[in-house]
Amino acid sequence: MSSGYLEKMAASIRAMSAGFARSLMAGALVTAFVSVATAAQARELRVCADPNNLPFSNERGEGFENRIVDIVAKELGADVSYVWWAQRRGFVRNTLKAGLCDLIPGAPAALEMLRTTVPYYRSSYVFVTREGEPGISSFDDPRLRDLKIGVQLIGDDGANSPPVAALARRGIGAHLKGFPVYGDYSTPDPQSEIIEAVASRDIDVAIVWGPLAGFFASRQPVKLRVAPVSPLIDKPVVPMLYDISMGVRRDEKALSGELDAALKKHRQEIDAVLAEFHVPRLDTGNAASP
């Protein structure tokens, strides 16, 4: 093993918080040695994922992406090894494209920097409101002008989330509260704050990406309503719904094909995992509300 490889392994941890880095450093290096030692015996599926990003993934394997990776790896006859890296700017470039891993378990099918597999779910941005209060389901609902609205702050060079664009187009911005999409990474569930804010009445409605809305809404002490936004494409160009695939390097056609087959073959199992995580789906019609 070259020192360059070790350096990359160490680098893979750099983007995470110091606490995480310390606890993971030893583990990651051990994994690296083991994977080399066993390369001859078993196929390895190297996956890059965020160690602290439920409901998608975490280092304990508790996210739905972790679970779906296991399903797919089993079909491929491969052992899964993770390279943990906070999903920030440069995630794809520093992980998959740097050769640290071969697979990213979640990516929009339209993401140009990757080769993406067949989509395994379609979700949308959703309105999250308290049950028992008038629900919101459209950007054209006049009540939005008076309600306190929470949105995700993207933090990528000033880009805003699609709902923010939709609100801006309608001149609705007076009662907007931004929640950084990264959340407070020093806490266990960085992205939960925006949903907790609905439950605690800090805001009246959250407009967030479906999977994390469904998951965190199901864990609040009060009942919350999760409803896909409308319109689903804010004309002329802003889509609120996205097909989500797995991503591999653009030249990995063979791997992509294997993954396609595995995703199709295990469709029912995958659907069950997504349902367990309350992912609002637009492709199956079971837009789950907890």
Binding site: G90, M113, G158, R169, Y182
Partner: protein, 615 residues
């Protein structure tokens, strides 16, 4: 925030305003025909208290409080600069963009690197300037994922036996200059909310002045004064919000009516938008000891789509004069009200005393990101002049009656709308790279960009598991096809005297000396010396990596003049190399990669100090 906005604006290519000037000016490297009769002009000089006689040291990045970056040393001059040779070099071992100026205090040179922000001390009395000590603050690794545009640090400052510098993860640190031992370390920024610190501190009296970066994450901008003795925060002045937070009180007397009123930092925003409104401060501060005022800019507004923040969005993209002891604001001027293009207002300001239309004036000169070279009365904030120093079509000039920038509405972008040839692009006609002023020529030497941009529809992106669409921005060379320029600007006559075209953005700082030599570096790695009068290239040396650092001149222990520069490509413009970005991804680094595709072909990463002297 160093990046462009979702609804960044594109404006029509009505280059008429600036083209006339450029047709005259862009004649190549040496247009001696335009060489003015310097001797006949009344002197333009920095105030003596802000620019004391040169003692041969270099104790702050801007050289002095007036920020002239002018050295009185003249051993190296136009006649002999061609003989410069390498005195010594030093590898920093860091592969990110090196934007810092080295410092020289007594017989020691100090260098602070990009993340991980190592502070080196080199012994100038010994052959080869060996390392005396190094101090490693070990910033939190997570700060790398938070910083927007490479992991730069713009330098340290020396005062009272201590070196003061900032770390990417939001600490200000005082280190004993002799021993390298830390004296105090104060955490003033929180990376978990997106705050980082990249600027060089300025020490004024017993205060260390520092500001934050992070506007794209909704970080509210501030400048803090820390007690130089123990590091405790004495005052904090925010860039947005109520007057009490901005430190606007009875002393505040802005020149223009648009800046008068109560709590404009709240009223010029939709409710609560100011709380995450940006207005960060990651650039340069100047200080006038006579007026006892510090001057600092504010960054652009954020993080929302401009449609969601109607109003002037005060106090972003402007400049404050403040009392350094209390932080109390004296005046404010807004370069770019309701900024649409990411035109942070944080560039350097050079303090000068000069005759203006027959009257003696205390002025402040600012080459701003929005493309105008401003001359302000620094006692009042009145705009005396605002002329484009680079191609500008995003605005049509500055109304000297109201002081207001005249927006060009024709190129306003919207989501999915295609707009081409917006000039300047998001990094501005000039980004952070500081200019230099020579009292011998009356000229300001400005390293800058010649970049425009196209906004072409949208592209899908993905972060922390959340898909979204961003504007597809591609930067490209401005008129002429070159991406950078080095301009000598005649402040009194409001026009360029000579210009040098550079293939890449001129992203390094400038230095001018009493030997009438101007030094700057290029992103290819050339360290250049040109005539301060004509711009004629006198000498150049190819360093090991692209240059985005700040050159300095100092008198060594042997009594001779030395010139030093950090080489090491990176920064926002150099992210394609420092961050190893894919040149096929035109929109990477917020579209900057499109303009920098060929940088990888000409340079590689690696931080190295180069020091030159005459044989």
């Amino acid at each position: 925030m160093m990046s462009s906005h979702y609804a960044t604006i594109a404006r029509k290519t009505t280059l008429a305003v600036s083209v006339a000037i450029f047709a005259l000016a862009v004649l190549g490297a040496f247009s001696t025909g335009f060489f003015p009769a310097f001797a006949q002009q009344p002197a333009i000089k920095p105030p003596a208290a802000a620019a004391p006689p040169d003692d041969g040291q270099w104790t702050m990045p801007a050289k002095n409080y007036a920020s002239t970056r002018y050295s009185e040393l003249d051993e190296i001059n136009e006649g002999n600069v061609g003989k410069l040779q390498v005195a010594f070099t030093f590898s920093t071992g860091v592969n990110r963009g090196h934007e810092a100026a080295p410092l020289v205090v007594g017989n020691t040179m100090y260098i602070v690197t990009p993340y991980p922000n190592i502070l080196f001390a080199l012994d100038l009395t010994k052959p080869g300037a060996p390392m005396k000590w190094r101090y490693e603050p070990r910033p939190e690794p997570a700060s790398q994922g938070v910083a927007c545009c490479d992991l730069v640090n713009r330098g340290a400052a020396f005062a009272n036996g201590r070196i003061f510098f900032n770390t990417l993860d939001g600490h200000t640190i005082a280190v004993d200059a002799a021993s390298g031992q830390p004296v105090w370390n104060t955490k003033i920024g929180n990376i978990n909310i997106g705050e980082t610190i990249t600027m060089a501190p300025l020490v004024v009296k017993d205060k260390v002045l520092v500001g934050n970066s992070g506007g794209e994450l909704g970080v509210r901008g501030w400048v803090k004064a820390l007690d130089a003795n123990d590091g405790h925060v004495v005052w904090t002045a925010y860039g947005t919000g109520p007057d009490s937070d901005v430190l606007i009180g009875p002393e505040f007397k802005p020149f223009y009516d648009g800046d008068k009123g109560t709590d404009l930092g709240v009223a010029s925003w939709p409710p609560s938008a100011w709380q995450i409104g940006g207005g960060n401060m990651w650039g340069w501060i100047s200080y006038d000891p006579e007026l006892d005022l510090i001057y600092h800019g504010t960054g652009n507004p954020g993080p929302w789509n401009p449609d969601l923040r109607p109003g002037d969005n005060k106090w972003t993209a402007g400049i404050f004069a403040r009392n350094p002891d209390t932080g109390a604001a004296r005046w404010f001027y807004q370069w770019t009200p309701h900024d649409l293009h990411d035109y942070d207002g944080i560039n350097e300001q050079i303090l000068l005393d000069m005759q203006w239309k027959g009257e003696p004036r205390k002025v402040l000169v600012r080459p701003d990101r929005n493309g105008y070279l401003y001359v302000l009365d620094r006692t009042t904030g009145e705009v005396l002049s605002a002329k484009p120093f680079a191609p500008v079509n995003s605005s049509k000039g500055v109304d000297l009656e109201s002081g207001r920038l005249i927006e060009n509405p024709e190129k306003q972008t919207g989501t999915g709308k295609v707009v081409r040839d917006i000039c300047p692009a998001s990094p501005g006609a000039k980004d952070w790279q500081p200019s230099a002023f020579s009292p011998r020529t009356g000229l300001l030497y400005i390293p800058h960009n010649n970049l425009c941009m196209d906004s072409e529809g949208i592209e899908v992106n993905y972060i922390a598991g959340t898909p979204y669409v961003g504007m597809n921005v591609r930067m490209k060379a401005g008129p002429g096809g070159h991406r950078g320029e080095f301009t000598a600007w005649d402040i009194a006559n409001e026009k360029p005297v000579w210009k040098i075209d550079e293939n890449f953005p001129a992203w390094s700082g400038a230095l001018v000396t009493a030997g009438d030599v101007v030094f700057y570096g290029t992103m290819e790695g050339w360290f250049k010396a040109v005539s301060a009068k004509t711009g004629k290239l006198l000498w150049q040396f190819r360093t090991s990596s692209g240059i985005i650092g700040q050159p300095i001149a100092y008198r060594g222990p042997d009594g001779h003049e030395y010139v030093a520069i950090l080489s090491g490509v990176g920064g926002w413009s150099g992210a394609i190399v420092a961050g190893d970005l894919d040149p096929r991804d035109a929109t990477a680094a917020l579209g900057f990669v499109n303009a920098m595709k060929d940088l990888k072909d000409v340079t590689n990463t690696g931080g190295t100090l180069y020091v030159f002297r005459l044989p």
